[in-house]
């Protein structure tokens, strides 16, 4: 099974992807994660304005057979959430890096960016999990 992992993104070992533009991080779940979860039926997004620390659970993702969590990859304030996936949760499956994005964070601790995984490092984690 070939999964898609865009080169320009950063990753977390809990299967989140991160796109950083200036001090805003856009976050979603990877192609591998959406495949493991199965058909997404519901996403519970956080309230805009909430400030959370890295590693904390920020959104709940429900599929027909499992319930997963989106973890904060970086500490910051939630400035936007993708309400489109509330009405169309299937876009998380069909376009996990595009219309299936979940939250946008205003980063408040730049040093944490170095702790994110590169494409290669993340690919290794996926390979290990597949075994």
């Amino acid at each position: 099974m070939e999964y898609e992992f865009p080169e320009e993104l950063k990753y977390l070992q809990t299967h989140e992807w991160i796109r950083i533009e200036d001090n805003i991080a856009t976050v979603g779940i990877t192609d591998y994660a959406q495949h493991q979860l199965g058909d997404i039926v519901y996403v519970e997004l956080p309230e805009i304005g909430t400030t959370l620390k890295k590693g904390v659970n920020v959104a709940e993702i429900e599929s027909v057979k499992a319930a997963g969590e989106l973890m904060m990859p970086l500490s910051g304030k939630i400035i936007e959430v993708n309400t489109g996936i509330v009405d169309n949760p299937e876009s998380v499956n069909s376009s996990p890096y595009g219309t299936g994005w979940m939250v946008k964070i205003e980063i408040n601790n730049n040093s944490e960016i170095d702790e994110l995984l590169s494409l290669e490092a993340y690919k290794e984690i996926v390979e290990a999990e597949k075994k």
């Binding site: 039926v41 519901y42 057979k65 499992a66 319930a67």
Partner: protein, 447 residues
């Protein structure tokens, strides 16, 4: 779905395939000293002997033909239609009837139960039921704590004392702090740290609270706090304002009054209903209706299972994975056979007969009705001699009211009286007579 046991031939074949001589050989890993060496049971009896023995045991029961006892478990007339439907073996003997491919009949029944409860309470969503009223209340408290991420809960005095005990146990397990508060002291105790306020109306002493006003007050003082109402006899919904028309967030009730025999105190039926925004956090089973993928036929199935513990594991808000199926079916048949007019008639009779008894007791010297709020079918009365009252009731074949000292040691001589539509004029007159005799006895005692 039929039960298909293994016959000897099949067993022999299977043992051969796995290379084992006899079934006992499959247990060789268990230490010999853990095997039971025979059970100390008497010889089996023949069918007529069993019947004889059971009848003799049954004679030890005192069966009262009329009751003035309530306190969480109620005598109501059960239409014969209820027994007729639930006695069908497909319903009576089914175990966990949740598979869509095998249990469409039961799933439809549960779906209809959810629907009638939702309509009767005017709450948006009702689940397939919990074990009983007390555990339903406890699970509601846990649910509120999870939703609000707060771990303090307030219980208003007047919730059934045994329900308070159950909620205490559940909260202890979840590290939730419980505070018992009187309704007039509530405003002082409300804060942003409270997950929920739990109250019962009509309460244990019979008082009907002004639910609308109470809920409104809580919403203003603590907007994020959940409001949970419990009820022990929901037949009152035949005349009282339904919780869905107030700010109540979660409604729980003991459904035994809906067509389930009081028996020896159980089984019960935990009615659990919530406002729409809590749909994804409600515990328990939910039956839904859907269409075939390749056609138009409708079918029933369990839905929103991602809430449940078999999927959410330790993150689930509850570990319940069942419902009181047979009892929920009894409730469904009871409610639909009575219908809107029947339920209103029943509730009206409960109310009026209880009022009649209250008024009659007021005329007997020594008796004082203690309720200051309106009541439904229960009320509390101070008696001149409660022990005599109980004696006189028994001698007239009446199940006596509850002495409150059973739960509250400082409430000596106070009885919790319950009068339902099942109390005939004759039984009510006997109760008044018993009350008069008990009053005279007390006077004689003084002389």
């Amino acid at each position: 779905m039929d039960f298909v046991p293994h016959d000897d031939k099949t067993i022999t074949e299977m043992l051969k395939v796995i290379g084992v001589n006899k079934i006992e050989d499959l247990f060789i890993d268990i230490p010999k000293d853990l095997f039971i060496n025979g059970l100390n049971l008497p010889e089996g009896l023949s069918e007529p002997d069993v019947l004889k023995k059971l009848k003799e045991l049954g004679k030890k029961n005192t069966i009262y033909t009329n009751s003035f006892l309530g306190a969480g478990c109620y005598f109501h007339y059960i239409p014969s239609l209820v027994d007729f439907v639930i006695s069908r073996s497909e319903f009576y003997t089914s175990y966990t009837p949740y598979q869509a491919e095998a249990s469409q009949g039961y799933l439809q029944a549960i779906y209809e139960y959810q629907s009638v409860i939702s309509r009767l309470t005017q709450m948006d969503v009702a689940n397939a039921s919990m074990y009983d009223g007390s555990t339903a209340l406890a699970e509601a408290a846990i649910m509120a704590s999870i939703i609000t991420r707060k771990n303090q809960v307030i219980i208003i005095e007047g919730v059934h004392p045994e329900y308070i005990d159950v909620v205490k146990t559940y909260c202890w397990g979840q590290d939730i702090a419980l505070k018992i508060v009187s309704v007039d002291k509530l405003e002082d105790k409300l804060s942003e740290e409270i997950a929920a306020v739990l109250f019962q109306s009509p309460n244990f002493f019979g008082d009907i609270e002004d639910v609308s006003a109470l809920a409104k007050t809580i919403k203003i003082q603590a907007p994020n706090c959940l409001i949970i109402q419990s009820m022990t006899d929901p037949t009152c919904l035949g005349i009282l304002k339904p919780p869905g028309e107030t700010d109540v967030d979660i409604f729980v009730a003991e459904g035994q009054s809906f067509g389930i025999n009081p028996s020896f105190g159980g089984p019960g039926l935990g009615i659990f209903a919530v406002k729409d925004k809590f749909l994804r956090k409600i515990p328990g089973r939910l039956v839904g209706k859907t269409k075939e993928i390749n056609g138009e036929r409708e079918g029933f199935l369990l839905t929103l299972q991602a809430r449940e513990q078999h999927i959410r594991r330790e993150k689930a808000s509850s570990n319940i994975c069942t419902n009181q199926a047979l009892c929920s079916l009894s409730a469904l048949i009871y409610i639909v056979s009575l219908g809107r007019t029947g339920l209103r008639e029943i509730a009206t009779q409960n109310f009026q007969k209880a009022q009649y008894v209250k008024n009659k007791l007021r005329e007997i010297p020594g008796y004082e009705i203690l309720n200051t709020k309106p009541t439904y079918n229960e009320f509390i009365v101070k008696c001149p001699d409660i022990d005599s009252l109980i004696q006189e009731c028994k001698s007239l074949d009446l199940l006596p009211p509850l002495p409150l000292s059973k739960y509250y040691s400082d409430m000596r001589d106070i009885a919790l009286v319950c009068v339902t539509e099942s109390n005939s004029r004759d039984s009510i007159e006997k109760f008044i007579k018993a009350s008069e005799l008990a009053s005279n006895k007390q006077k004689e005692g003084r002389a």
